[in-house]
Symmetry: C2
């Protein structure tokens, strides 16, 4: 089968072992859902990527054009009704040592792969667990989808029970932050809540989309610092990311919930937003 | 010029873009000094690598043999009097997602490159600065030389004044931890000190070698948690890593030191230890 991968703007599947993305995790990525050959929330993903490049000091004139060209090329070959488009940028290949020379040419990778049908999980909801792996606190890197993801790997490694779809992670001080691959929201007395990601965690594109939708359609979301106990008192809980959209949470260890009204309404709003 | 790189045990210079080392920084590395074709502290480096593999759950029967075979092949081509041998292991190439399948075949990379002559810095000492980039605290990952090194990249990116050889980093609580690429020691009234690396930082092979030497030759090293003020009162300061050995610190921002007796003695002990 033809591989749906482009490296530095051309078809390929390898990169130099001296690439700083490998050596230091010195780069960023985006995972974009593609439905019927249409990339969802493209502008939001590219905006986050460019903003994070700025924070890391990775500069690449024409980055958006590069990824747009990759997108066009990959979509022309796309065999999948629902696909994941993963865009990666690294600071590029360079000599040994942490110092990032100014003349490095960033590396881009665009890869298209199939996404499973998640509709049953979207409807029936999913089971979650708590992870013991903590998230380190560092505002300098918080929010970005960078390539330093060992904490997520170690957290995801904690379970292999396939009936559990996601694990929730707290920061080093015990505050709830996110799932290993998702952001988390909950409802308590018709009020929507989600953790702040100013000290650690990923500022998910879908998380922000949901906050924006809720703010205009349902009333302001409370974004703050919450202990894991917040979920025990919640009336509804859901998780989200760009590939899964919204999954209602029906069980978290011993606690269980029904699929809630706010969750259902947000799923409907999101569908409308996507317009696919 | 022939590239002195081996990937998965054969000559090569590329790896799959689906490698988890790139995607998540899901791997480890060692940097070993090679003098006159002899790798220094080989056993200590391999031991640290194997111990860290165990912590990350990366299993590879015959890893040491693989790297030994790489070493032999690279040394037969080695044109450098002093070289850096970088050994990298990743969890391997796999499907998208943090979950590390048990059947992944780890990727190994061995690369030999030239090392500059550092003898003037070893003799005259070096200038240091404080970095503003903090080290996040996470005991789960502390000590390991894993591939999540964005904090070091961001810290090293803070200066490009070539007269400054290294920057010191504190953790999120303000405690001194290490340099961007080195560990730090200091002497106060004939007592040797170095920061604990149980919450963040790299447990350098040379750091441990120096602790072991000092413990038998100079008296026990105090390993603990110290604020940056500890250095202000120090009589001597030095930094170390496997490539630079020991560099006396003669200036840190406004504060300056002479090259001290303990530093000189440790440099001499180390030379004897190496036997090259």
């Amino acid at each position: 089968m033809q591989r749906l991968i482009r490296v530095n703007g051309v078809s390929g599947h390898q990169l130099e072992v001296t690439d700083r993305g490998l050596c230091y995790g010195d780069g960023l990525f985006e995972t974009i859902k593609v439905v019927n050959n249409k990339p969802l929330l493209w502008d939001a993903h590219i905006s986050r990527l460019l903003a994070s490049c700025l924070r890391l000091g990775i500069s690449f004139d024409g980055l958006e054009e590069r990824f747009k060209a990759d997108l066009k090329a990959l979509l022309s070959l796309n065999p999948y009704e629902t696909a994941a488009l993963k865009l990666t940028i690294t600071r590029g290949s360079g000599p040994r040592g942490y110092f990032p020379a100014n003349d490095l040419q960033p590396t881009t990778i665009s890869a298209l792969s199939e996404v499973s049908d998640f509709s049953i999980k979207s409807i029936d909801g999913v089971r979650l667990r708590w992870c013991g792996t903590p998230l380190a606190i560092n505002p300098l890197l918080a929010g970005m989808k960078h390539l330093n993801r060992l904490e997520q790997v170690m957290a995801r490694k904690e379970w292999d029970d396939t009936s559990i779809s996601e694990g929730l992670m707290c920061d080093m001080e015990g505050y709830l932050v996110e799932g290993t691959m998702s952001n988390v929201f909950w409802v308590k007395q018709d009020q929507l809540y989600t953790p702040d990601i100013d000290r650690c965690g990923v500022a998910g594109v879908l998380r922000q989309t949901i906050i924006d939708i809720a703010n205009t359609q349902l009333g302001p979301v409370v974004v703050g610092r919450f202990s894991e106990r917040a979920l025990k008192d919640a009336d509804e809980v859901f998780i989200c990311n760009s590939l899964i959209d919204i999954w209602p949470v029906v069980q978290l260890d011993a606690k269980s919930w029904e699929v809630g009204l706010t969750t259902l309404r947000l799923q409907a709003f999101l569908k409308k937003e996507y317009n696919v």
